[in-house]
């Protein structure tokens, strides 16, 4: 018995950091060739498990999956939330040797000052697109969505996302994010309720499809989706409204209790190499947060208007994560809108 026990115990010992990496990621957000390249360079076997929204990732990690994954890819506001919840591990610049590749404007971000827990993955903007066949007027204002012209009434799709809709609504009214001012919140609430009858639908996954199929003639949309809509034949123009738009960034974070911490850091370092970041960009059609990617980018992506905002537009803003009491107020506005 004992003779068998010890070899059995040895076999039962899990294979440690040596050869594995467990990634929690969005589906189809990283080209398989790049993952294979990483494995070829380092010998580390990569498993990718997927989620379909930031919130479901958070819910799963909270309900017990923390400790099963090494890295995840949350959006900007989610990084702040995870850090506050103690779900993130940190790394030093000595460990993350390629940290210098990060574009300077993304090194110190509101959700991760000095980049201690995360590295940029892809960033983009959220605004709206208009089908130029239907409406030829000026689209330089969020009024197209919140106070639409006659041609667009009843033909607008709005993202089914509390964050984006409320932030864009706040920008339109010129009120700050995470406001606790009652008058401002009431104004936001009322404006949204007045605008809603002019909207055809709420939908995030179908934001591109409705523009291509003609179900909607205008809609809130992510810049990458808009580029894809254009590629599929919709005559849409992506707008950079004067009130501002939303900037978002997906980041790779080092998770707490990562089973293969060293491999996780090697993977993050790998993603900071310009050529690799460019591979992701070419695949996902957004923008890398790393300098030096231009030589490796596909022309279509390099030159698309969605990735090259014209000079002089109002810069975009990150969605802020509010504190609990304030968040409750915004939750009430959203519920009121959708009830």
């Amino acid at each position: 018995m004992k003779r068998l026990l010890i070899p059995a115990l040895l076999c039962a010992t899990p294979a440690f950091a040596e050869g594995e990496l467990k990634v929690y990621h969005w589906f189809e957000y990283i080209p398989q060739e790049l993952v294979d390249k990483f494995t070829a360079e380092t010998g580390i076997a990569v498993t990718i498990d997927t989620y379909d929204s930031n919130e479901s990732m958070l819910a799963s990690l909270k309900a017990g999956k923390l400790g099963q994954y090494d890295v995840a890819v949350p959006a900007d506001f989610m990084v702040g939330i995870m850090a506050a919840d103690g779900m993130l591990d940190s790394f030093t610049p000595e460990e993350m040797t390629n940290l210098g590749n990060v574009a300077p404007q993304w090194l110190d971000v509101p959700f991760d000052a000095g980049r201690k827990h995360s590295i940029p993955y892809q960033w983009g903007t959220t605004s709206f697109s208009v089908n130029r066949d239907v409406y030829k007027g000026d689209i330089g204002s969020l009024g197209i969505i919140f106070n639409p012209p006659d041609e667009l009434k009843g033909r607008i799709n709005v993202l089914d996302s509390q964050n984006e809709v409320l932030v864009l609504g706040s920008l339109y009214l010129g009120i700050p994010q995470c406001s606790t001012d009652r008058a401002q919140l009431q104004a936001l609430n009322d404006m949204l309720l007045v605008a809603k009858p002019h909207w055809a639908s709420f939908g995030s996954d179908i934001a591109k499809d409705v523009l291509v199929s003609g179900d909607a003639a205008a809609g809130m949309i992510y810049n990458g989706f808009s580029a894809k809509a254009r590629a599929e034949g919709a005559n849409v123009e992506y707008a950079y409204p004067k009130e501002g738009h939303v900037v978002w960034m997906d980041n790779v974070v080092l998770l707490k209790d990562a089973p293969n911490r060293e491999n996780a850091i090697r993977f993050m370092n790998f993603l900071l190499v310009p050529e690799n970041a460019a591979a992701v960009t070419n695949y996902a059609a957004y923008t890398a947060g790393v300098t030096g990617v231009e030589p490796f980018l596909d022309d279509a992506i390099k030159n698309s208007p969605e990735n090259n905002p014209p000079a002089g537009i109002t810069p975009g803003v990150f969605a802020q994560a509010c504190d609990e009491a304030t968040q409750k107020l915004y939750d009430a506005v959203w519920t009121n809108l959708k009830k």
């Binding site: 969005w26 498993t47 997927t50 017990g64 999956k65 996954d205 591109k208 499809d209 291509v212």
Partner: protein
């Protein structure tokens, strides 16, 4: 010969029903051959999505997901049907007993609880007892919620079967087991088959519960498709769906042949 069982218009309704059921499928099939990336604008005929399904970068993941879905559905529906058959016999036959209402409520519990609630509660429960999530956790979660779907058609069928058949068999010196196997079971068969089918479909299509209780690195087809949809629905998903359809049509043909061979007129 139009007998008493013929009702005018019923055939038209059935055919119309099938038309409505299959029309979207025709769309799915048509767009699986789409030359462009869109699912709403036709871009010419092309087979490249099918080649992508089998050889493209996502192929191994979708293939594994499909295999998981099919095996889990088969195992879960079979187990659930067995359990449900036993339960139906106990519930429908014989005098009302104490706890019958409670049992009925219990059997229907998975139906009543919204899927999202079951999903989160089940995951929390699994991690509380230290059960590692994975294929097995998906399987047992599926068995649980498949039971009511298998139960209801079986019970409905059983209610129409008078106990006199079994009693007559027993009078003729059949053992309890023989009475069951040779008399009751064949009579129940359509209900059991209906229950199995329902359970299979439910398991195959389940997304929410599966998404929460699956472990790292395991996907079923619905979770893989839903995740892919976040990047926009592409015709490769249509191609996968068409392939699933082809598989099930194969199944039908096979089942028909088997049925023909072993068929005895009642």
């Amino acid at each position: 010969m139009k007998g008493v069982r013929h009702y005018p218009g019923f055939m038209a309704v059935t055919v119309g029903c099938l038309v409505v059921l299959y029309a979207p499928l025709i769309v799915v099939m048509a767009y699986s051959f789409n030359g462009s990336n869109s699912i709403t604008q036709w871009g010419g005929f092309s087979l490249h999505w099918y080649t992508q399904v089998f050889t493209g970068p996502e192929a191994p993941r979708f293939g594994q997901a499909a295999r998981n879905s099919l095996t889990i559905a088969a195992l879960a529906s079979t187990t659930a049907t067995l359990i449900a058959t036993a339960a139906a016999i106990a519930m429908v036959q014989g005098a009302p007993f104490r706890g019958k209402g409670a049992t009925f409520a219990l059997i229907n519990l998975p139906l009543m609880v919204p899927e999202i609630v079951t999903a989160v509660a089940t995951l929390i429960f699994f991690s509380a007892i230290g059960l590692t999530t994975g294929y097995f956790t998906i399987l047992i979660a599926h068995i649980a919620f498949c039971i009511p779907f298998a139960y209801l058609p079986i019970a409905a069928r059983l209610e129409g079967i008078a106990p006199s058949y079994e009693a007559a068999a027993r009078d003729l010196y059949a053992t309890r087991w023989q009475a069951f196997r040779l008399v009751l079971l064949p009579l129940m068969m359509p209900g059991v088959a209906a229950g199995w089918l329902l359970a299979f479909i439910i398991s195959l299509d389940d997304f929410i519960i599966t998404n929460f209780v699956k472990g790292a690195g395991i996907e079923t087809l619905p979770t893989a498709i839903f995740g892919a949809v976040k990047q926009g629905i592409k015709p490769n998903i249509m191609a996968i769906s068409t392939l699933m359809l082809a598989v099930s049509i194969l199944f039908v043909t096979l089942a028909w042949f088997i049925n023909r061979k072993g068929h005895r007129t009642p």
